[in-house]
């Protein structure tokens, strides 16, 4: 059984077309160009493309040669060589490739959500402390371009020795501690790498006259500094960002999905780290002669300040005043109970009333 088609042949050496008579026979295509004739074995023939009225065929041994035949030659090829050229062969090959890609994506996802967070801890521990201090200082400088720093140097000068003494007694691992107060109404505090701590004017407002509650929050942040959580977060985010950038080559739906999932895993880790920071805070407070229950008072004050602020306000300001410091932290009620259970008598507070008033006045209460 044979079938014959009229077609055109390009030899890949010049752009000239040669009229071709092509015969499908057992084993291969017989191509007669009038000036010469040759055979293409079916196993080496590739379908390059099919249009409504024409199909193009090629062969691996002559990569630039193209044979153009009427479109029904494709079905004929499938009949003569079903193992290599039936339609489902191509689909199966693509399906296989996609399966490999999905497996690779799974591997990448595992690296992103398990590998990177797992590596961030040991990596942070292995990082020299002076490197961490530098990156922390750079991050603090960058944050202050976004949030306005309260330019009350006197307040900061009063806080600094207090914080550094707490850090030294509590084995935080960094001698230099820098606290900066930024002007924003949400009660919040966070630790950057290398002993850089940011507190908001909203936090000072929330704790009011309760110096010990403020110091309890600072002790918690010193706990993060001791555990090098800021650097861990930096590595985790940098690792996530880098991998995402590298894999997805920029933007796209998948990247958005991965980012959202990434934030969720980060939240989970942050909760674990928060509990560890609470534990460290209790030790630091104990060394500083502070009552651990002050942390409970701080939690209550922050929660109360958030509810006060949102009372009677519109939806938009509700959103703005979400208690950030509590949102990413473990259950507040549990923490309050835990802190209260540890209560003990506090000693002399490090700042006298006048000095504490100066610290509290760092932002001149301008926000409220």
């Amino acid at each position: 059984m044979t079938r014959q088609f009229d077609g055109r042949f390009f030899d890949g050496k010049s752009a000239n077309a040669a009229p071709a008579i092509v015969i499908f026979e057992t084993g291969g295509l017989f191509i007669d160009l009038a000036t010469r004739a040759f055979s293409w074995p079916y196993r080496d023939v590739a379908i390059l493309d099919c249009q409504a009225n024409e199909c193009r065929f090629g062969i691996a041994s002559e990569p630039d040669a193209v044979l153009v035949l009427p479109a029904d030659a494709r079905e004929t090829l499938a009949e003569f060589s079903p193992d290599q050229h039936s339609r489902h062969v191509g689909a199966r090959r693509l399906g296989g490739a996609v399966a490999v890609m999905i497996a690779a994506a799974g591997l990448i996802a595992a690296t992103l959500f398990i590998g990177v967070p797992a590596a961030s801890g040991p990596l942070a521990q292995a990082t020299p402390r002076d490197f961490e201090q530098r990156i922390g200082a750079n991050m603090a400088a960058q944050i202050q371009t976004v949030f306005r720093r309260c330019a009350n140097d006197q307040s900061l000068a009063l806080l600094r020795p207090v914080m550094e003494e707490m850090a030294a007694n509590g084995n935080v691992g960094f001698e230099t501690i820098r606290v900066n107060i930024v002007r924003t109404s949400a009660p919040n505090a966070f630790a950057l790498p290398g002993g850089q701590i940011m507190a908001t004017s909203g936090l000072l407002d929330a704790v009011g006259e309760d110096q010990e509650a403020f110091l309890a929050v600072m002790a918690h942040e010193l706990g993060h500094v001791r555990n090098r959580d800021g650097l861990r977060a930096f590595y985790r985010n940098a690792g996530l960002g880098l991998l995402l950038e590298v894999i997805t080559g920029g933007s796209g739906l998948a990247q958005q999905a991965v980012l959202i999932a990434g934030q969720l895993t980060q939240l989970r880790h942050t909760r674990e780290q928060e509990s560890a920071a609470d534990d460290a805070a209790y030790t630091i407070m104990e060394h500083a002669d502070l009552d651990p229950a002050a942390l409970a008072r701080a939690f209550s004050a922050i929660t109360a300040s958030v509810s006060d602020n949102t009372e009677g306000s519109d939806e938009k300001s509700d959103r703005r005043r979400l208690p950030t410091w509590l949102k990413t932290h473990p259950d507040t009620k549990e923490r309050i109970a835990d802190a209260n259970a540890r209560t003990s008598a506090s000693g002399q507070l490090p700042l006298n009333e006048t000095d504490w008033a100066i610290v509290r006045d760092a932002c001149n209460q301008k926000d409220d």
Binding site: A17, Q51, D64, A254
Partner: protein, 381 residues
């Protein structure tokens, strides 16, 4: 035997064909492209976008195969795997070191040192030069994987030279508030096309009378003024709450620039803005495309274009709507429609001798367009 093949047979042995007998066009169908765009989007999600290299290859293969000159179509011979490998190479040779420098500088240089600022500045300047290099390399790859009548296209020339030129022109364009832009585009097109080949036949980019007659700067003036008005109006609209707060002496509320309400405002107005700017630029865009196409000739045929301002206006409006209504997965259909319109408006003049056009065996680069993909410069073409 078809009419064209008869013509050719009649013109043997030289294989000379008049450009007029080589109608140029594209017969891609929108549904086919929507389908490729759709499955590429879906598979991108499941493969963390790794599939994009294969999706892009499918798109090009279809688009090229639907594009014809005379009886024969052009062919795309690139492969998804090739793009993927090129991308990996680009990551390890360029992107990873670049990110390492930016991140690493944060560890080694403190905030009080003035030269900390220099690191990102130098890195970003370098980055812009690399963008030019990447565009050139991606183009070289496209041409080397494009074939017509069994003969490959190719591009030679210095990618680094192109990178520096593109960077310099970019600076000049910025300094002149965009007014060097059209000249830059013509110069960069010339750099690419003057180095392009079809087999052993070199393309040339000539400032012939037909090409230089195009009112490049007149049309640019309209685009520039329209663009400026549109841009300020758009920003004004987005920032209206902040501006009105400032005018009343209140401190702007950052919450006004967040949330779903704000995003809807931004995206809805962006569509209007895109259409407005598209309209203002339509004339210039048509002029520029005609200017570049009319400058080209290869192997004895000269290219010409009848692309009209109305073509651009119609495409802009319908393509924006197509993107919106397909939630973005119509991006390939959009690119196809632009290509198709440009191709359908091309005509060839002169006489081409196919028998005299030989394969150029020396020009076959092995690398993909990874750098351009890594830098997010790929438009699927």
């Amino acid at each position: 035997m078809s009419e064209y093949a008869e013509n050719e047979a009649a013109s043997e042995p030289g294989g000379r064909v008049s450009g007029r007998d080589l109608p140029v066009g594209n017969r891609s169908e929108i549904l086919a492209m929507l389908w490729i765009g759709f499955y590429t989007t879906v598979l991108n999600i499941f493969t963390l976008t790794i599939f994009r290299f294969w999706g892009r290859t499918h798109f090009r293969r279809r688009l090229w195969a639907d594009t014809y000159a005379g009886e024969d179509t052009i062919e795309y011979t690139g492969r998804g795997l090739e793009l993927f490998v090129g991308f990996l190479i680009a990551i390890f040779t360029f992107m990873a070191p670049f990110i390492a420098i930016i991140v690493g500088s944060q560890f080694f240089i403190g905030p009080d040192t003035w030269y900390l600022v220099l690191v990102p500045i130098v890195a970003y300047f370098g980055f812009f030069i690399v963008i030019g290099i990447a565009i050139f390399l991606a183009r070289r790859y496209h041409l080397s994987r494009t074939r017509y009548r069994g003969v490959r296209f190719a591009q030679t020339g210095s990618a680094t030279g192109f990178g520096f030129a593109a960077f310099g022109y970019g600076l000049l364009t910025a300094i002149t508030f965009g007014w060097f832009g059209p000249e830059a585009r013509i110069r960069l097109s010339r750099r690419m096309w003057d180095n392009a080949y079809f087999g052993n036949e070199k393309f040339s980019f000539t400032n012939n009378e037909e090409a230089t007659k195009e009112p490049v700067y007149k049309s640019f003036a309209l685009a520039w003024v329209g663009g400026m008005i549109g841009y300020f109006a758009w920003f004004g609209f987005i920032l209206a709450p902040v501006i009105s707060a400032s005018m009343q002496g209140n401190e702007p509320d950052p919450a006004d620039l967040q949330g779903i309400e704000f995003m809807v405002r931004v995206y809805a107005s962006a569509i209007v803005f895109a259409i407005f700017v598209g309209l203002a630029m339509a004339w210039h865009e048509a002029v520029m495309i005609r200017r570049i196409i009319k400058s080209l000739d290869v192997a004895g045929v000269r290219f010409s274009s009848r692309l009209s301002t109305w073509d651009i206006i119609e495409l802009t409006i319908t393509n924006v709507l197509l993107l919106v209504f397909t939630l973005g997965f119509g991006f390939m259909a959009v690119q196809m429609r632009v290509w198709k319109r440009i191709a359908n408006r091309i005509s060839l003049d002169g006489e081409i001798d196919f028998a005299a056009i030989k394969q150029n065996e020396d020009m076959a680069p092995s690398q993909g367009e990874g750098l351009a993909d890594g830098l997010d410069l790929i438009s699927n073409f």
